[in-house]
Amino acid sequence: MSVITVDDLHKHYGDPSAGSGRGVKAVDGVSFEVQEGETFGFLGPNGAGKTTTIEIIEGYRKPDSGSVTALGLDPRRDGYELKEHVGIMLQETALYPDLRVGELLRLFASYYRRPADPDALLEMIGLEEKKRAFVRELSGGQRQRLAFILTLINDPELLFLDEPTAGLDPQSRRAAWEWIRRAREEGKTVFLTTHYIEEAETLCDRVVIIDHGRIIALDTPKRLVAGLEAEHRIEFVTEGALDSARLGGIPGVGKAIEAGKGAFVLYVKEPQPVLGALIALAEREGLTLRDLRVEGATLEDVFIRLTGRRIRE
Protein backbone atom coordinates (compact mmCIF):
# COMPACT_ATOMS: atom_id res chain seq x y z
CA MET A 1 0.00 0.00 0.00
CA SER A 2 1.39 3.38 -0.82
CA VAL A 3 1.60 5.87 2.03
CA ILE A 4 2.70 8.85 -0.02
CA THR A 5 1.79 9.47 -3.64
CA VAL A 6 3.31 12.39 -5.49
CA ASP A 7 2.41 13.03 -9.09
CA ASP A 8 4.09 15.54 -11.40
CA LEU A 9 4.89 18.07 -8.73
CA HIS A 10 6.05 21.54 -9.74
CA LYS A 11 7.08 24.44 -7.55
CA HIS A 12 9.08 27.50 -8.35
CA TYR A 13 10.09 30.48 -6.27
CA GLY A 14 10.47 34.05 -7.32
CA ASP A 15 8.33 36.37 -9.38
CA PRO A 16 5.82 34.33 -11.39
CA SER A 17 5.04 37.30 -13.65
CA ALA A 18 8.68 37.68 -14.70
CA GLY A 19 8.42 34.87 -17.23
CA SER A 20 9.77 31.36 -17.35
CA GLY A 21 13.40 32.43 -17.45
CA ARG A 22 13.23 34.10 -14.04
CA GLY A 23 12.84 32.70 -10.59
CA VAL A 24 14.06 29.30 -9.45
CA LYS A 25 12.42 26.01 -10.30
CA ALA A 26 12.76 24.29 -6.95
CA VAL A 27 10.78 21.20 -7.93
CA ASP A 28 10.41 20.41 -11.61
CA GLY A 29 8.06 17.54 -12.33
CA VAL A 30 8.64 15.09 -9.48
CA SER A 31 6.62 11.84 -9.21
CA PHE A 32 7.09 8.90 -6.83
CA GLU A 33 5.32 6.63 -4.35
CA VAL A 34 6.40 5.63 -0.86
CA GLN A 35 5.27 2.19 0.33
CA GLU A 36 4.06 1.37 3.81
CA GLY A 37 6.85 0.44 6.21
CA GLU A 38 9.77 1.45 4.04
CA THR A 39 12.42 4.04 4.72
CA PHE A 40 12.52 6.25 1.69
CA GLY A 41 15.25 8.82 1.17
CA PHE A 42 15.80 11.90 -0.93
CA LEU A 43 19.52 12.27 -1.59
CA GLY A 44 20.92 15.31 -3.29
CA PRO A 45 23.04 18.44 -2.87
CA ASN A 46 21.83 21.56 -1.07
CA GLY A 47 19.29 23.40 -3.17
CA ALA A 48 18.29 20.30 -5.14
CA GLY A 49 14.63 20.58 -4.05
CA LYS A 50 14.62 18.13 -1.14
CA THR A 51 13.22 20.48 1.50
CA THR A 52 10.69 21.98 -0.88
CA THR A 53 9.38 18.52 -1.74
CA ILE A 54 9.15 17.31 1.85
CA GLU A 55 7.49 20.55 2.96
CA ILE A 56 4.88 20.28 0.21
CA ILE A 57 4.02 16.78 1.41
CA GLU A 58 3.89 18.02 5.02
CA GLY A 59 1.42 20.69 3.93
CA TYR A 60 3.67 23.71 4.58
CA ARG A 61 3.85 24.76 0.95
CA LYS A 62 1.38 24.83 -1.86
CA PRO A 63 2.63 23.29 -5.11
CA ASP A 64 2.25 25.25 -8.36
CA SER A 65 0.81 22.09 -9.92
CA GLY A 66 0.70 18.35 -9.41
CA SER A 67 -0.99 16.22 -6.79
CA VAL A 68 0.08 14.95 -3.39
CA THR A 69 -1.55 12.56 -0.95
CA ALA A 70 -0.13 11.34 2.33
CA LEU A 71 -1.92 8.59 4.30
CA GLY A 72 -4.74 9.07 1.81
CA LEU A 73 -5.16 12.71 2.83
CA ASP A 74 -4.64 16.00 1.02
CA PRO A 75 -1.94 17.78 3.07
CA ARG A 76 -3.42 21.21 2.41
CA ARG A 77 -7.11 20.41 2.81
CA ASP A 78 -6.89 17.80 5.60
CA GLY A 79 -3.81 19.25 7.26
CA TYR A 80 -4.92 18.90 10.88
CA GLU A 81 -6.03 15.29 10.42
CA LEU A 82 -2.77 14.43 8.66
CA LYS A 83 -0.73 15.98 11.47
CA GLU A 84 -2.50 13.73 13.97
CA HIS A 85 -0.76 10.74 12.32
CA VAL A 86 2.65 12.03 11.23
CA GLY A 87 5.79 13.19 13.02
CA ILE A 88 7.70 16.10 11.52
CA MET A 89 11.33 17.04 12.07
CA LEU A 90 12.23 20.27 10.35
CA GLN A 91 15.66 21.07 9.06
CA GLU A 92 16.15 23.71 11.73
CA THR A 93 15.32 22.62 15.26
CA ALA A 94 13.10 25.19 16.93
CA LEU A 95 11.88 24.58 20.46
CA TYR A 96 10.71 26.92 23.20
CA PRO A 97 14.06 27.79 24.86
CA ASP A 98 12.46 28.81 28.16
CA LEU A 99 10.55 25.58 28.75
CA ARG A 100 11.95 22.63 30.65
CA VAL A 101 12.43 19.42 28.67
CA GLY A 102 9.62 17.66 30.56
CA GLU A 103 7.26 20.61 30.08
CA LEU A 104 7.95 20.71 26.36
CA LEU A 105 7.20 17.00 25.97
CA ARG A 106 4.01 17.28 27.99
CA LEU A 107 2.92 20.28 25.90
CA PHE A 108 3.46 18.45 22.63
CA ALA A 109 1.77 15.34 24.00
CA SER A 110 -1.32 17.47 24.73
CA TYR A 111 -1.68 18.30 21.03
CA TYR A 112 -2.53 14.71 20.09
CA ARG A 113 -5.42 12.33 20.64
CA ARG A 114 -3.19 9.34 21.45
CA PRO A 115 0.10 10.56 22.89
CA ALA A 116 3.06 8.25 23.56
CA ASP A 117 4.82 8.08 26.93
CA PRO A 118 7.27 11.02 27.14
CA ASP A 119 9.42 9.32 29.79
CA ALA A 120 10.03 6.26 27.63
CA LEU A 121 11.06 8.51 24.74
CA LEU A 122 13.45 10.50 26.93
CA GLU A 123 14.98 7.26 28.13
CA MET A 124 15.46 6.05 24.56
CA ILE A 125 17.67 9.04 23.71
CA GLY A 126 19.41 9.03 27.10
CA LEU A 127 18.10 12.41 28.23
CA GLU A 128 16.05 11.26 31.22
CA GLU A 129 18.47 13.14 33.49
CA LYS A 130 17.66 16.36 31.65
CA LYS A 131 13.94 16.35 32.26
CA ARG A 132 14.12 19.39 34.54
CA ALA A 133 16.70 21.24 32.43
CA PHE A 134 15.69 24.21 30.32
CA VAL A 135 15.79 23.62 26.58
CA ARG A 136 18.21 26.53 26.20
CA GLU A 137 20.70 24.75 28.49
CA LEU A 138 20.97 21.73 26.19
CA SER A 139 23.81 21.25 23.73
CA GLY A 140 23.08 21.36 20.00
CA GLY A 141 23.20 17.57 19.78
CA GLN A 142 20.87 17.13 22.76
CA ARG A 143 18.42 19.58 21.23
CA GLN A 144 18.46 17.64 17.99
CA ARG A 145 17.73 14.43 19.88
CA LEU A 146 14.86 16.16 21.64
CA ALA A 147 13.50 17.39 18.31
CA PHE A 148 13.68 13.80 17.09
CA ILE A 149 11.63 12.30 19.94
CA LEU A 150 9.07 15.08 19.55
CA THR A 151 8.33 13.52 16.16
CA LEU A 152 7.47 10.28 17.98
CA ILE A 153 5.26 11.84 20.67
CA ASN A 154 2.07 10.85 18.82
CA ASP A 155 3.33 7.37 17.90
CA PRO A 156 2.97 8.34 14.23
CA GLU A 157 2.52 6.05 11.24
CA LEU A 158 4.69 8.25 9.06
CA LEU A 159 7.85 10.17 9.92
CA PHE A 160 9.19 13.15 7.97
CA LEU A 161 12.85 13.81 8.76
CA ASP A 162 14.46 16.73 6.93
CA GLU A 163 18.24 16.34 7.23
CA PRO A 164 17.87 14.62 10.60
CA THR A 165 21.59 14.32 11.36
CA ALA A 166 22.93 17.52 9.77
CA GLY A 167 25.65 19.01 11.93
CA LEU A 168 25.90 16.05 14.33
CA ASP A 169 29.21 14.48 15.27
CA PRO A 170 29.76 10.96 13.88
CA GLN A 171 28.90 9.25 17.16
CA SER A 172 25.59 11.08 17.58
CA ARG A 173 24.82 10.42 13.93
CA ARG A 174 25.23 6.69 14.45
CA ALA A 175 22.93 6.83 17.47
CA ALA A 176 20.32 8.73 15.45
CA TRP A 177 20.50 6.07 12.73
CA GLU A 178 19.81 3.45 15.37
CA TRP A 179 16.59 5.24 16.48
CA ILE A 180 15.46 5.73 12.90
CA ARG A 181 16.03 2.01 12.28
CA ARG A 182 14.03 1.21 15.39
CA ALA A 183 11.15 3.36 14.13
CA ARG A 184 11.23 1.38 10.90
CA GLU A 185 11.22 -1.91 12.82
CA GLU A 186 8.10 -0.72 14.64
CA GLY A 187 6.43 -0.53 11.25
CA LYS A 188 6.61 3.22 10.76
CA THR A 189 7.13 4.59 7.28
CA VAL A 190 10.05 7.02 7.16
CA PHE A 191 10.59 9.74 4.57
CA LEU A 192 13.93 11.43 4.99
CA THR A 193 16.13 13.85 3.12
CA THR A 194 19.89 13.84 3.40
CA HIS A 195 23.04 14.87 1.68
CA TYR A 196 25.07 12.22 3.50
CA ILE A 197 25.81 9.26 1.23
CA GLU A 198 26.35 6.84 4.08
CA GLU A 199 23.07 7.85 5.69
CA ALA A 200 21.13 7.10 2.53
CA GLU A 201 22.98 3.79 2.02
CA THR A 202 22.58 2.48 5.56
CA LEU A 203 19.05 3.62 6.31
CA CYS A 204 17.05 3.68 3.12
CA ASP A 205 15.19 0.84 1.47
CA ARG A 206 14.88 3.02 -1.61
CA VAL A 207 16.59 6.23 -2.57
CA VAL A 208 15.70 9.04 -4.89
CA ILE A 209 18.64 10.96 -6.29
CA ILE A 210 17.49 14.49 -6.94
CA ASP A 211 19.28 17.35 -8.66
CA HIS A 212 17.95 20.73 -9.82
CA GLY A 213 14.41 19.75 -8.83
CA ARG A 214 14.35 16.59 -10.94
CA ILE A 215 14.53 12.95 -9.94
CA ILE A 216 17.52 11.52 -11.79
CA ALA A 217 17.43 8.03 -10.27
CA LEU A 218 15.14 6.00 -8.00
CA ASP A 219 15.92 2.50 -6.74
CA THR A 220 17.38 0.53 -3.84
CA PRO A 221 20.89 1.72 -2.95
CA LYS A 222 22.29 -1.67 -3.97
CA ARG A 223 20.76 -1.63 -7.42
CA LEU A 224 21.72 1.99 -8.01
CA VAL A 225 25.36 1.17 -7.31
CA ALA A 226 25.17 -2.08 -9.30
CA GLY A 227 23.83 -0.04 -12.22
CA LEU A 228 27.20 1.65 -12.52
CA GLU A 229 28.62 -1.68 -13.75
CA ALA A 230 31.79 -0.66 -12.00
CA GLU A 231 32.30 -1.81 -8.47
CA HIS A 232 35.41 0.25 -7.90
CA ARG A 233 36.49 3.81 -8.16
CA ILE A 234 40.05 4.97 -8.73
CA GLU A 235 40.73 8.54 -7.71
CA PHE A 236 43.79 10.70 -8.08
CA VAL A 237 44.99 14.24 -8.55
CA THR A 238 47.64 15.38 -11.00
CA GLU A 239 49.00 18.74 -12.11
CA GLY A 240 50.06 17.72 -15.59
CA ALA A 241 48.10 17.92 -18.80
CA LEU A 242 45.68 15.03 -18.93
CA ASP A 243 42.13 14.72 -20.11
CA SER A 244 39.38 12.31 -19.27
CA ALA A 245 39.11 11.11 -22.88
CA ARG A 246 42.64 9.69 -22.75
CA LEU A 247 41.96 8.03 -19.40
CA GLY A 248 38.74 6.60 -20.78
CA GLY A 249 40.83 4.90 -23.44
CA ILE A 250 42.64 2.72 -20.91
CA PRO A 251 41.30 -0.84 -21.29
CA GLY A 252 38.99 -1.77 -18.42
CA VAL A 253 37.91 1.80 -17.60
CA GLY A 254 34.13 2.08 -17.72
CA LYS A 255 34.05 5.82 -17.43
CA ALA A 256 36.55 8.59 -16.64
CA ILE A 257 35.45 11.89 -15.19
CA GLU A 258 37.32 15.06 -14.29
CA ALA A 259 35.72 15.99 -10.97
CA GLY A 260 37.31 19.31 -10.16
CA LYS A 261 40.57 20.77 -11.49
CA GLY A 262 43.13 18.04 -12.05
CA ALA A 263 41.10 15.56 -10.00
CA PHE A 264 40.09 12.44 -11.89
CA VAL A 265 37.77 9.56 -11.13
CA LEU A 266 37.85 6.29 -13.04
CA TYR A 267 35.15 3.65 -12.73
CA VAL A 268 36.39 0.13 -13.19
CA LYS A 269 35.36 -3.46 -12.62
CA GLU A 270 38.87 -4.75 -11.95
CA PRO A 271 41.24 -2.20 -10.40
CA GLN A 272 44.51 -4.10 -10.80
CA PRO A 273 45.10 -4.02 -14.59
CA VAL A 274 43.86 -0.45 -14.82
CA LEU A 275 46.19 0.69 -12.05
CA GLY A 276 49.12 -0.85 -13.90
CA ALA A 277 48.17 0.89 -17.14
CA LEU A 278 47.57 4.18 -15.33
CA ILE A 279 50.95 4.17 -13.64
CA ALA A 280 52.65 3.25 -16.89
CA LEU A 281 50.90 6.16 -18.59
CA ALA A 282 51.95 8.57 -15.83
CA GLU A 283 55.58 7.46 -16.06
CA ARG A 284 55.62 7.81 -19.84
CA GLU A 285 54.25 11.36 -19.62
CA GLY A 286 56.29 12.35 -16.55
CA LEU A 287 53.20 12.99 -14.45
CA THR A 288 52.96 12.68 -10.68
CA LEU A 289 49.82 11.02 -9.39
CA ARG A 290 48.90 12.26 -5.95
CA ASP A 291 46.21 11.06 -3.52
CA LEU A 292 45.81 7.86 -5.50
CA ARG A 293 43.01 5.80 -3.97
CA VAL A 294 40.93 2.77 -4.84
CA GLU A 295 37.52 2.47 -3.21
CA GLY A 296 34.28 0.57 -3.55
CA ALA A 297 31.67 2.54 -5.50
CA THR A 298 28.88 4.27 -3.51
CA LEU A 299 25.79 6.34 -4.19
CA GLU A 300 28.12 9.30 -4.53
CA ASP A 301 29.43 7.65 -7.68
CA VAL A 302 25.93 7.23 -8.99
CA PHE A 303 25.48 10.96 -8.51
CA ILE A 304 28.83 11.77 -10.13
CA ARG A 305 28.08 9.46 -13.04
CA LEU A 306 24.72 11.14 -13.60
CA THR A 307 25.69 14.78 -13.08
CA GLY A 308 29.46 15.02 -13.38
CA ARG A 309 29.53 16.67 -9.94
CA ARG A 310 29.94 15.59 -6.35
CA ILE A 311 27.01 15.87 -3.94
CA ARG A 312 29.00 18.05 -1.60
CA GLU A 313 31.41 20.32 -3.44
Binding site: K83, I88, A94, D98, S110, Y112
Partner: protein, 245 residues
Protein backbone atom coordinates in the same frame (compact mmCIF):
# COMPACT_ATOMS: atom_id res chain seq x y z
CA UNK B 1 -10.34 22.90 25.70
CA UNK B 2 -7.60 20.86 27.34
CA UNK B 3 -5.28 22.03 24.60
CA UNK B 4 -6.20 25.65 25.24
CA UNK B 5 -5.62 25.22 28.96
CA UNK B 6 -2.22 23.55 28.49
CA UNK B 7 -1.13 26.19 26.00
CA UNK B 8 -2.30 29.00 28.32
CA UNK B 9 -0.30 27.46 31.16
CA UNK B 10 2.78 27.45 28.92
CA UNK B 11 2.25 31.01 27.72
CA UNK B 12 1.99 32.22 31.34
CA UNK B 13 5.11 30.28 32.32
CA UNK B 14 7.01 31.78 29.40
CA UNK B 15 5.82 35.24 30.46
CA UNK B 16 6.89 34.77 34.10
CA UNK B 17 10.31 33.45 32.99
CA UNK B 18 10.96 36.51 30.85
CA UNK B 19 12.26 39.01 33.39
CA UNK B 20 12.21 41.93 31.01
CA UNK B 21 8.56 41.37 30.14
CA UNK B 22 7.61 40.87 33.79
CA UNK B 23 9.33 44.10 34.74
CA UNK B 24 7.85 46.25 32.00
CA UNK B 25 4.37 44.78 32.12
CA UNK B 26 3.79 43.89 35.73
CA UNK B 27 6.05 46.16 37.76
CA UNK B 28 6.64 49.27 35.68
CA UNK B 29 3.02 50.49 35.79
CA UNK B 30 2.97 50.09 39.57
CA UNK B 31 6.25 52.01 39.84
CA UNK B 32 4.91 54.77 37.59
CA UNK B 33 1.73 55.08 39.62
CA UNK B 34 3.57 55.11 42.95
CA UNK B 35 6.15 57.64 41.80
CA UNK B 36 3.84 60.07 39.98
CA UNK B 37 1.16 59.56 42.62
CA UNK B 38 3.57 60.29 45.45
CA UNK B 39 5.06 63.36 43.80
CA UNK B 40 1.65 64.85 42.99
CA UNK B 41 -0.38 63.54 45.90
CA UNK B 42 -1.76 66.99 46.75
CA UNK B 43 -2.74 67.90 43.18
CA UNK B 44 -6.04 67.36 41.49
CA UNK B 45 -7.35 67.22 37.93
CA UNK B 46 -10.83 68.73 37.55
CA UNK B 47 -12.72 67.58 40.60
CA UNK B 48 -10.79 64.36 41.27
CA UNK B 49 -7.39 63.85 42.91
CA UNK B 50 -4.41 63.40 40.60
CA UNK B 51 -3.93 59.78 41.70
CA UNK B 52 -7.56 59.00 40.88
CA UNK B 53 -6.93 60.53 37.46
CA UNK B 54 -3.70 58.55 37.12
CA UNK B 55 -5.04 55.09 38.08
CA UNK B 56 -7.10 54.47 34.89
CA UNK B 57 -4.18 55.81 32.84
CA UNK B 58 -1.80 53.31 34.40
CA UNK B 59 -4.33 50.52 33.83
CA UNK B 60 -4.44 51.59 30.17
CA UNK B 61 -0.65 51.39 30.13
CA UNK B 62 -0.75 47.83 31.52
CA UNK B 63 -3.29 46.74 28.95
CA UNK B 64 -1.19 48.12 26.13
CA UNK B 65 1.98 46.52 27.51
CA UNK B 66 0.39 43.07 27.84
CA UNK B 67 -1.88 43.03 24.80
CA UNK B 68 0.20 45.02 22.31
CA UNK B 69 3.85 45.06 23.35
CA UNK B 70 4.31 41.55 24.76
CA UNK B 71 2.03 39.85 22.30
CA UNK B 72 3.64 41.34 19.20
CA UNK B 73 7.24 40.88 20.34
CA UNK B 74 6.74 37.31 21.57
CA UNK B 75 4.88 36.32 18.39
CA UNK B 76 7.58 37.70 16.11
CA UNK B 77 10.33 36.17 18.23
CA UNK B 78 8.66 32.76 18.13
CA UNK B 79 8.13 33.06 14.39
CA UNK B 80 11.75 34.15 13.93
CA UNK B 81 12.95 31.17 15.99
CA UNK B 82 10.86 28.81 13.85
CA UNK B 83 8.65 27.76 16.77
CA UNK B 84 5.43 28.75 15.02
CA UNK B 85 6.47 26.69 12.01
CA UNK B 86 7.14 23.69 14.24
CA UNK B 87 3.74 24.10 15.93
CA UNK B 88 2.12 24.08 12.51
CA UNK B 89 3.52 20.58 12.13
CA UNK B 90 1.18 19.44 14.93
CA UNK B 91 -2.63 19.37 15.07
CA UNK B 92 -2.63 22.47 17.31
CA UNK B 93 -5.20 24.81 15.80
CA UNK B 94 -4.17 28.37 15.03
CA UNK B 95 -7.11 29.69 17.05
CA UNK B 96 -6.02 27.70 20.11
CA UNK B 97 -2.51 29.12 19.95
CA UNK B 98 -3.75 32.65 19.47
CA UNK B 99 -6.52 32.18 22.03
CA UNK B 100 -3.99 31.05 24.61
CA UNK B 101 -1.83 34.09 23.93
CA UNK B 102 -4.81 36.44 24.29
CA UNK B 103 -5.99 34.65 27.44
CA UNK B 104 -2.50 34.91 28.90
CA UNK B 105 -2.50 38.65 28.20
CA UNK B 106 -5.99 38.85 29.73
CA UNK B 107 -4.82 37.05 32.88
CA UNK B 108 -1.92 39.45 33.29
CA UNK B 109 -4.26 42.39 32.70
CA UNK B 110 -6.79 41.24 35.31
CA UNK B 111 -4.01 40.74 37.81
CA UNK B 112 -2.74 44.25 37.06
CA UNK B 113 -6.17 45.81 37.41
CA UNK B 114 -6.62 44.22 40.83
CA UNK B 115 -3.12 45.14 41.97
CA UNK B 116 -3.19 48.74 40.77
CA UNK B 117 -6.71 49.40 42.00
CA UNK B 118 -5.97 47.91 45.41
CA UNK B 119 -2.78 49.96 45.78
CA UNK B 120 -4.66 53.06 44.56
CA UNK B 121 -7.43 52.62 47.10
CA UNK B 122 -5.32 51.52 50.08
CA UNK B 123 -2.27 53.75 49.72
CA UNK B 124 -3.54 56.77 47.80
CA UNK B 125 -7.12 56.97 48.97
CA UNK B 126 -8.57 56.79 45.46
CA UNK B 127 -12.36 56.72 45.53
CA UNK B 128 -13.93 54.48 42.92
CA UNK B 129 -17.31 55.85 41.94
CA UNK B 130 -17.93 54.31 38.58
CA UNK B 131 -19.63 51.44 36.85
CA UNK B 132 -18.23 47.91 36.97
CA UNK B 133 -20.07 46.70 33.81
CA UNK B 134 -18.85 49.66 31.76
CA UNK B 135 -15.36 49.20 33.15
CA UNK B 136 -15.31 45.53 32.16
CA UNK B 137 -16.77 46.26 28.72
CA UNK B 138 -14.15 48.95 28.11
CA UNK B 139 -11.38 46.70 29.38
CA UNK B 140 -12.49 43.90 27.07
CA UNK B 141 -12.81 46.04 23.95
CA UNK B 142 -9.54 47.83 24.69
CA UNK B 143 -7.72 44.54 25.22
CA UNK B 144 -8.99 43.19 21.92
CA UNK B 145 -8.17 46.42 20.07
CA UNK B 146 -4.57 46.41 21.32
CA UNK B 147 -4.30 42.68 20.67
CA UNK B 148 -5.33 43.32 17.08
CA UNK B 149 -2.74 46.10 16.84
CA UNK B 150 -0.11 43.72 18.17
CA UNK B 151 -1.09 41.06 15.63
CA UNK B 152 -1.03 43.57 12.77
CA UNK B 153 2.44 44.74 13.78
CA UNK B 154 3.64 41.14 14.07
CA UNK B 155 2.31 40.41 10.59
CA UNK B 156 3.90 43.46 9.00
CA UNK B 157 7.39 43.11 10.47
CA UNK B 158 9.32 39.89 10.11
CA UNK B 159 12.47 40.51 12.14
CA UNK B 160 12.30 40.10 15.93
CA UNK B 161 14.62 43.01 16.76
CA UNK B 162 12.88 45.38 14.37
CA UNK B 163 9.47 44.37 15.70
CA UNK B 164 10.49 44.95 19.30
CA UNK B 165 11.93 48.36 18.42
CA UNK B 166 8.82 49.31 16.43
CA UNK B 167 6.48 48.16 19.20
CA UNK B 168 8.35 50.24 21.78
CA UNK B 169 8.47 53.20 19.41
CA UNK B 170 4.68 53.07 19.23
CA UNK B 171 4.05 52.25 22.88
CA UNK B 172 6.28 54.73 24.73
CA UNK B 173 5.24 57.98 22.98
CA UNK B 174 1.57 56.97 23.19
CA UNK B 175 1.87 56.72 26.95
CA UNK B 176 2.92 60.34 27.23
CA UNK B 177 0.84 61.84 24.42
CA UNK B 178 -2.48 60.15 25.03
CA UNK B 179 -3.33 61.51 28.43
CA UNK B 180 -2.47 58.41 30.46
CA UNK B 181 -0.31 60.33 32.95
CA UNK B 182 -1.25 63.98 32.37
CA UNK B 183 -4.42 65.69 31.18
CA UNK B 184 -4.43 66.25 27.43
CA UNK B 185 -4.87 70.02 27.74
CA UNK B 186 -1.45 70.57 29.36
CA UNK B 187 0.11 69.26 26.15
CA UNK B 188 1.21 71.45 23.24
CA UNK B 189 -1.57 72.00 20.69
CA UNK B 190 0.16 69.88 18.02
CA UNK B 191 0.48 66.86 20.32
CA UNK B 192 -3.17 67.19 21.27
CA UNK B 193 -4.06 66.78 17.60
CA UNK B 194 -1.78 63.76 17.31
CA UNK B 195 -3.41 62.26 20.42
CA UNK B 196 -6.82 62.49 18.78
CA UNK B 197 -5.65 60.02 16.16
CA UNK B 198 -4.38 57.44 18.65
CA UNK B 199 -6.42 54.66 20.27
CA UNK B 200 -4.93 54.89 23.76
CA UNK B 201 -6.47 58.36 24.16
CA UNK B 202 -9.98 56.96 23.80
CA UNK B 203 -9.26 53.86 25.83
CA UNK B 204 -7.93 55.84 28.80
CA UNK B 205 -10.81 58.31 28.47
CA UNK B 206 -13.38 55.52 28.64
CA UNK B 207 -11.58 53.78 31.51
CA UNK B 208 -11.51 57.03 33.46
CA UNK B 209 -15.21 57.58 32.89
CA UNK B 210 -15.97 54.00 33.96
CA UNK B 211 -13.88 54.18 37.13
CA UNK B 212 -14.63 57.68 38.31
CA UNK B 213 -17.99 58.72 36.87
CA UNK B 214 -20.06 55.80 35.65
CA UNK B 215 -22.55 57.26 33.20
CA UNK B 216 -24.42 55.65 30.33
CA UNK B 217 -24.00 54.60 26.71
CA UNK B 218 -23.73 58.21 25.54
CA UNK B 219 -20.55 58.65 27.57
CA UNK B 220 -18.86 55.68 25.93
CA UNK B 221 -20.24 55.54 22.40
CA UNK B 222 -17.49 57.62 20.78
CA UNK B 223 -14.55 56.10 22.67
CA UNK B 224 -15.66 52.51 22.23
CA UNK B 225 -16.60 52.85 18.56
CA UNK B 226 -13.18 54.31 17.77
CA UNK B 227 -11.55 51.39 19.60
CA UNK B 228 -13.75 48.95 17.66
CA UNK B 229 -12.70 50.71 14.45
CA UNK B 230 -9.02 50.15 15.30
CA UNK B 231 -9.83 46.55 16.15
CA UNK B 232 -11.48 45.88 12.79
CA UNK B 233 -8.81 47.66 10.73
CA UNK B 234 -5.89 45.97 12.48
CA UNK B 235 -7.59 42.60 12.27
CA UNK B 236 -8.10 43.08 8.54
CA UNK B 237 -4.39 43.93 8.11
CA UNK B 238 -3.51 40.77 10.04
CA UNK B 239 -5.73 38.53 7.96
CA UNK B 240 -4.22 39.98 4.77
CA UNK B 241 -0.60 39.67 5.78
CA UNK B 242 -0.29 36.92 8.40
CA UNK B 243 2.72 34.60 8.06
CA UNK B 244 3.95 31.59 9.97
CA UNK B 245 7.56 31.57 8.87
Amino acid sequence: MKVLYRQLEVELKLFLRNKQEVFFTALFPLLMMSLFGYLNKESSVGDVSYVAFLLPGVIGMSVMAAAFLNLSTSLVRQRDDGILKRLRGTPLRAWALLGAKVLAAGTVILFQVLLLTTVGILFFGVEIAGSVPWFLATLLIGTFAFTAMGLALASLINNADTASAAAHAIYLPMLFICGAFFPLDVMPRLLQHVAKGLPLTYFVDALRCAMLVGGGLGDYAKDLSILLGWLVCCFAITVKTVRWE
